[in-house]
Symmetry: C2
Subunit: 295 residues, 2 copies
């Protein structure tokens, strides 16, 4: 369908798909990333206000281990409320990926919590990962700027799930001037102290524990101090990964207390780690970001 | 999580999964079907009222070509409203399927609109399909009775998408005493006169055109006459399969007119055949079934 932005999308972006959805459109795009040296793709929901060129508040959603943009776009059920409020919702991929068609071979690991699908939103310093795994630079610099150039975005809040919750807290507190709001669903709160995160950081950073600390959300929050008037975090109380000690919301709570950072941390009885949990509470998160964007 | 029905689920049902979702739970079950002589699976969303044993109105949702229960359960976004209204939502599979673990080999066809994933909600009469492809008996008799025995269901409305819209209209008008309401999203309205349906019916019924007519939703409605105080149908106006002539809502409109059957047929500008279309309008369908169930 034809629509007019204030300016045309540049040749940097190739549209993969476009589906009418509520009073807006769900788009997918592909572009060549300098940060990852691979093609990268993302989904973006644009309400009609944005399609007609009006600047709208946006949410950047970072996904969890094994996911790409499809999981949240299909299963999180954000479109109805984003349509109603006039919000843009953007979902990038979780890592660079091999692309046989373009002769691009990206390192991988057979464990699902390291390698492709597990970029952890950090810039790896150790080979073979350092060649392509630069997800912090990709998300916080390259994609961030691309989105602001190409779409009518008024402001950006950041949220995520699990590894993406780690990413949202980490990037939100590393780059508080870029984001107006932060929230997370069952985040990995202290990646440097949990088994999944340790396995990934050992691969991406080697034994350089200073880099581990700089990539641990709770430690970054404690070091950065208060940055947002409030942050919202939901944790399923029946989440097996929470009970396994991978998520550690208590570390986030301690860090926020130490940093004087207001935190609303909710334990949701009976809920697990799945997208059924996410869809049950994402509307509260969208409303949180919407309200923060009005301030 | 523990919950108590008025009676325990029988040994006919094996629970595959159980996820808390809004004020209710999304379950999947598997059972052995006598109609299809295969294991069959379905998803069911149970609001807390149902979980505590209170009878609730239910919607039986029939999916389209290539789908199983996952597509609608993940992508249609029905759970929030079903939780709010206290409605049960059931999604069966679209055909019997091979099951190597149990030594079950079901006929198939390399074309996506015939064979596994394309049962058309009819009882096939021609080999090799007649052995397992008995989806009318499965849905309208076996599963229908099983659901009423095992879950606290007050009444059942039937709806579906595409091939499942055909199924909802067909079974709704063949068995009006079983269903309290009917609706459809982009249904195949006259399968015997469209290329997909003709290819399937030739396989399932051979040249017996009387069976074709008895399995054509528009023809069955015209023959059965008015059965419901109203039926609701949405059709995306930008749907490529509509423009290809596979769906033919105009045949449904003529049949309902001839049968004195009230029909609300809405053409939705800009919308295609996808689950982005479904999620945009399914709330109106859930409300339709909810209101009919109160009468």
């Amino acid at each position: 369908m034809a629509f007019s932005y204030p300016h045309k999308l540049s040749s940097k972006l190739t549209q993969i798909s476009n589906n009418r959805c509520f009073d807006g459109e769900q788009h997918y795009y592909r572009h060549d990333s300098a940060a990852t040296k691979t093609p990268m793709s993302f989904s973006i929901y644009l309400p009609d206000d944005a399609l007609s060129g009006q600047r709208c508040p946006a949410i950047l959603y970072l996904s969890g281990l094994t996911c790409n943009a499809d999981n949240v776009t299909h299963k999180a059920h954000f479109q109805a409320l984003c349509s109603e409020l006039g919000m843009i919702f953007i979902a990038p991929d979780t890592s660079p990926r091999s692309d046989a068609d373009n002769g691009i071979d990206v390192a991988n690991d057979e464990r699902y919590f390291v390698g492709q699908g597990a970029g952890y939103y950090v810039d790896a310093t150790k080979a073979p990962w350092s060649e392509h795994f630069n997800m912090q630079s990709y998300i916080a610099d390259e994609l961030y700027e691309l989105l602001r150039e190409e779409f009518p975005i008024a402001s950006i809040g950041i949220m995520g799930h699990s590894m993406g919750g780690h990413g949202a807290l980490l990037l939100g507190f590393k780059f508080p001037s870029k984001f107006v709001s932060v929230s997370a669903l069952s985040p990995i709160c202290s990646a440097s102290e949990a088994a999944w995160g340790q396995a990934a950081f050992l691969e991406y950073f080697g034994e350089d524990k200073a880099l581990w600390d700089e990539s641990d959300a709770a430690k970054v929050i404690e070091a950065s101090g208060r940055q947002y008037s409030s942050i919202l975090v939901d944790q399923g109380a029946a989440d097996e990964f929470f009970h396994d000690g991978q998520l550690m919301p208590e570390k986030l709570q301690k860090a926020c207390f130490a940093a004087d950072q207001p935190l609303t941390l909710r334990y949701q009885a009976g809920f697990d780690h799945s997208y059924y949990f996410i869809q049950s509470f994402i509307h509260d998160h969208i409303q949180h970001h919407y309200q923060m964007a009005q301030l």
